[in-house]
Amino acid sequence: MTRSESSSKSELLKGTLDMLILQTLTLQSLHGYAIAQHIERLSDDVLSVEQGSLYPALERLQKKGLVTSKWGESPTGRKARYYTITASGRKHLGKEISSFDRVLVAIHRVMRQA
């Protein structure tokens, strides 16, 4: 269903987006819009992607059992779906971050020597 020309880019982004979502949810349960806002604010719009691509990612995380969701009331009184990170979501995030750190250190080292 995904168009083939964008697949390599989306493959690259997929893992990163998942990590950002999980990281965001470690603080508190949030609805989709709040997650998008939070990611954009923290990354100074550098990592901004189409906001909508958040939702397939959330669906994927739920299927893996890293995130669960529940309908609740937003501060404005509207019904919204709130996402919560699960225990295995936290474990997964920890692993991802440490491997990400290792990669970053490696990249940093390589770039400095060049």
Partner: protein, 904 residues
């Protein structure tokens, strides 16, 4: 944990697909609304709400694609596609109602008939017996070695002394019990009525694992000695009918055949004993001691439950050893060299008569063929329609539709159609099950020589959840079977050429479709020939059975039995019967009265040995067998049994004078092949004719006492007045309708013996019909299948030929325009149909010649390869195909060339 959370999520999506899709939608709109508000707010009025909305949408990305991507991530796209396919399919069905109706009807008949037969197979062959741990139940039988022409018997019933010897020697079974079916007169508290019961050993219920719902079982101490206490268990039905379901029935005394029995228990609803129709159970030990202690009174079936640590195989291996012990304890008095034995079988294996099992399997295969034909027919319809949709499919393939997607869509159509057919089939199945129950061959034909457990019979067939599940499974399977080939063929990419073609002239692709349609039609005809051959053979066999002369005239004859009053001893019985017969003879319309001990076609009649006093004696026990029948002198003439030589009995043949017998022609042929039997001295092992010599005074025609399809065996007749006997059957011949005599017969008997019930009151014609009920049962059903198969195959042929004609309208127009005679066109189309019929018939006959061999055991006086039957069915088939071909052929011949040419 994560696995569980993920699974829960998937389950939620699956169970509430529609709700979940709506939630996704809500969520994204919520997001957009917040983003719009946020932007409006940030711009402080410089942005209109509409523009803010647009900006939010741009920021969000393509809503449709993201929604789709989310849905596909959630697994919803699968449902979307199915729902879409189903909606499309339903639209297509609505557009072609005739096609849909024909297909659904065809499938409904095919699936429904299969479900009905499956219900029967399930109830009679598959389902476990309705007792706890039924696989631990066994039936133990005595075995008798072959004697002369009589084959060995493996299913001999037991006498009590032999059972006692077996029981005391065995270590295999934890419980074991004798039982037999019985009919008794129940009186006291209400009218006397004749009910079916069972005489049961003390452990009968414990063996089966059944417990009384009220009161108690027979007690072990009641089971010790003959002449034991008269206690009684009753069925739930009898309790409700006769005792108003009153719990105080326990301790009440009921009168059974004139003896008082105390009711001690009521059995659970639905339990009617192994005979399947018992209403009460009397203890074996209440049976008269002199009969019970007779080692050669073989009357009882032995059932047993294995000890927990004993396997079925161990029991089977050890029972013959026990049989030898019983044989040593009770050697045959006349045949000391004969070795009897014992054999154990699982009770489940003896549940139905082997013939019932075989015929059910034959019916199951036949109905499977019907379904195959139905599938071929619907597949044909699909092919025809796919040919009509060639352009639609070609366009869709050309604009990039994936082949898999198209196949899935066509398959959805066929499965959906099959499911509609499956739903409609429930009606057919419901009706079929009712028909099976109504035709029940067992109810009329429950005789001693029919094996099997009465508790498992055709009236226990129901359309239950298992049958419905079977129908659903069958519907889906047939949908795939008849849908797959047309779907693959219709979407063959090489058919994309259809786009270029003009619609009038079929080329290679369409021709290929035509070929597979021809193959399907040929297959249908071949299968129909197989079914027709089977039903034709059965019909012919039934016809022969109906044509058999049973040796007597059954018309206008009423038969009945009744209990004898206790005050009459054996010697005063003739006087009693004389009185009763005189009263019957005085009834208006009665033209003759007679007595016989065992009516013709009843089976299980009496037999004994015969010896010849004018020949050297043979060793004891090697004398030939002969059937023995007690009749009043009037019986022969009244039943129109022809006199061949000598004379009939007359009233002068009575006790105290010279003993005489009549023999039948079979006996005359066998025992006096080259002599005149008249005046020969014989001894017959019954009725006091063994020690005394009797003289043959007449030879009469053969009467079939066993069944219509078993030839007459040597029989001898004894005059009732010379050797009186217990209960006899009364036969009345009337001028008019025999069954109309029933009320007055009952009244007459009421005058002689108030309160005594008549039983077994039936016309002789009904008795004859009942003996054929089994043959009629299988034949009717097979014939029904044959007719359905023929109709479907004819429809299939019609479809193929008719479609061929409509495809060739242009070609036919051109031929006509060029001067082809119309008759020639007609013949051409008919020839095509006949070619299909010929190919199908040839293939069908080859298969049928092999397949009909399984019918051999069911056929009477007809060979499985009977040329006459095959000839007739081929003629019928040719006529049907001709009719199916003529309609399109006439249409072809009446094509208007000018119109078809202009249409192009």
């Amino acid at each position: 944990m994560s696995l569980l959370d993920g699974l829960r999520h998937r389950l939620r999506v699956l169970t509430g697909a529609r709700r979940y899709a709506r939630e996704l939608d809500d969520e994204m709109h919520f997001h957009l609304a917040l983003e719009t508000m946020q932007r409006e707010h940030a711009a402080r009025g410089s942005l209109s709400a509409t523009d803010a909305g647009f900006a939010a949408r741009r920021r969000f990305g393509n809503l449709t694609r993201i929604t789709e991507s989310s849905r596909s991530m959630a697994g919803l796209s699968f449902f979307d596609a199915i729902a879409q396919d189903a909606r499309f399919a339903l639209r297509t069905f609505r557009r072609s109602p005739t096609f849909t109706a024909v297909a659904v009807l065809t499938l409904a008949i095919g699936i429904g008939a299969n479900t009905a037969i499956f219900s029967a197979v399930d109830a009679l062959l598959l389902r476990p017996l309705p007792f706890p741990n039924p696989e631990r139940l066994m039936k133990v039988s005595l075995t008798v070695p072959a004697r002369g022409t009589d084959p060995a018997r493996l299913d001999m019933v037991w006498s009590y002394p032999k059972f006692a010897a077996f029981r005391d020697a065995q270590q295999l079974f934890s419980e074991l019990a004798l039982y037999t079916e019985d009919r008794v007169t129940l009186s006291g508290s209400g009218d006397a009525e004749r009910v079916r019961g069972e005489i049961a050993g003390g452990e009968y219920l414990r063996t089966l694992g059944v417990h009384p719902s009220l009161g108690r079982d027979f007690l072990p101490e009641e089971d010790k000695h003959p002449d034991g206490p008269r206690v009684l268990l009753i069925s739930d039905v009898l309790w409700k009918r006769r005792f108003n379901a009153n719990p105080a029935v326990l301790g009440k005394v009921a009168d059974i055949d004139g003896k008082p029995y105390t009711i001690v228990g009521v059995l659970p609803p639905g339990f009617r004993g192994l005979s399947g129709r018992a209403e009460l159970w009397t203890p074996l030990m209440a049976y008269p001691a002199e009969e019970l202690n007779e080692a050669w009174n073989h009357s009882f079936t032995l059932i047993a439950r294995l000890r927990p640590n004993v396997t079925v195989e161990q029991a089977k291996a050890d029972v013959p050893r026990l049989g030898a012990i019983v044989d040593r304890a009770y050697p045959h008095p006349d045949r000391p060299d004969e070795r009897w034995g014992a054999v154990a079988r699982s009770l489940d294996a003896t549940r139905v008569d082997p013939m019932v099992r075989r015929s059910l399997l034959v019916l199951l295969s036949a109905v499977g063929l019907v379904l195959l034909i139905a599938c071929a027919n619907v597949a044909n319809l699909f092919l025809v329609r796919a040919a009509g949709r060639r352009r639609e499919i070609a366009v869709r393939l050309a604009v990039g539709a994936q082949r898999g997607r198209l196949v899935r869509q066509l398959l959805t159509e066929s499965v959906l159609l099959a499911m509609l057919g499956g739903a409609a089939s429930i009606l057919v199945a419901w009706w079929g099950v009712k028909l099976l129950g109504a035709l029940d061959p067992g109810s009329a034909l429950r005789r001693d020589d029919i094996a099997g457990i009465g508790a498992v019979n055709f009236t226990t067939i129901h359309l239950d959840a298992r049958a419905l599940a079977f129908a659903a499974l069958l519907a889906i399977a047939t949908g795939v079977v008849f849908g797959l080939v047309p779907a693959l063929q219709a979407t063959d990419p090489s058919l994309a050429g259809a786009l270029k073609q003009d619609k009038g002239a079929p080329r290679d692709g369409a021709l290929r479709g035509l070929t597979s349609r021809n193959v399907l039609a040929t297959l249908e005809i071949a299968l129909a020939v197989v079914l027709l051959a089977g039903s034709g053979l059965m019909l012919r066999s039934l016809g022969k059975l109906l044509g058999v002369n049973p040796g007597f005239d059954a018309s206008h004859t009423l038969t009945m039995r009744f209990n004898l009053p206790r005050e009459y001893g054996r010697d005063s019985l003739p006087g009693f019967y004389d009185d009763v017969l005189a009263r019957f003879a005085a009834l208006p319309g009665v033209t003759g009265t007679a007595l016989i001990d065992c009516p013709p076609l009843n089976g299980g009649c009496n037999g004994t040995a015969i010896s010849f006093r004018d020949r050297p004696p043979v060793a004891a026990g090697t004398e030939p067998d002969i059937g023995v029948h007690w009749v009043t002198p009037s019986w022969m003439a009244m039943m129109h049994v022809p006199l061949v030589r000598g004379r009939y009995f007359d009233r002068g043949d009575r006790s105290g004078v010279r003993k005489v017998v009549l023999v039948n022609q079979a006996a005359a042929r066998k025992f006096w092949p080259d002599e005149d039997p008249i005046g020969r001295p014989v001894s017959i092992g019954q009725g006091g004719f063994w020690k005394d010599t009797a003289f043959v005074v007449g030879v009469v025609g053969d009467v079939r006492f066993n069944s219509v399809d078993s030839a007459a065996v040597p029989d001898a007749y004894i005059s009732y007045y010379q050797s009186p006997r217990g209960s006899m059957m009364v036969m009345l011949r009337t001028a008019g309708n025999a069954s109309a005599l029933r009320p007055s017969a009952q009244r007459v008997l009421g005058e002689v013996m108030p309160g005594a019930p008549i039983y077994d009151i039936r016309t002789m014609s009904d008795r004859v019909a009942d003996t054929l009920s089994y043959a009629r049962f299988s034949t009717i059903i097979l014939a029904l299948f044959g007719v359905v198969a023929l109709a479907l195959a004819t429809m299939g042929t019609y479809g193929v030929i008719s479609f061929g004609v409509s495809q060739r309208t242009r070609e036919l127009g051109i031929r006509l325009a060029l001067g082809a005679p119309r008759g020639e066109l007609l013949r051409m189309i008919v020839r095509q149909g006949m070619a299909l019929a010929l190919a199908g018939a040839a293939a069908g006959i080859v298969v049928a010649l092999v397949a009909t061999r399984v019918l051999r055991a069911f056929l009477y006086d007809v060979l499985p390869s009977d040329p006459m039957t095959f000839g007739v069915i081929l003629a019928v088939l040719a006529l049907a195909v001709l009719a199916a071909t003529l309609i399109p052929a006439r249409r072809a011949a009446s094509v208007d060339p000018s119109e078809t040419l202009r249409d192009g």
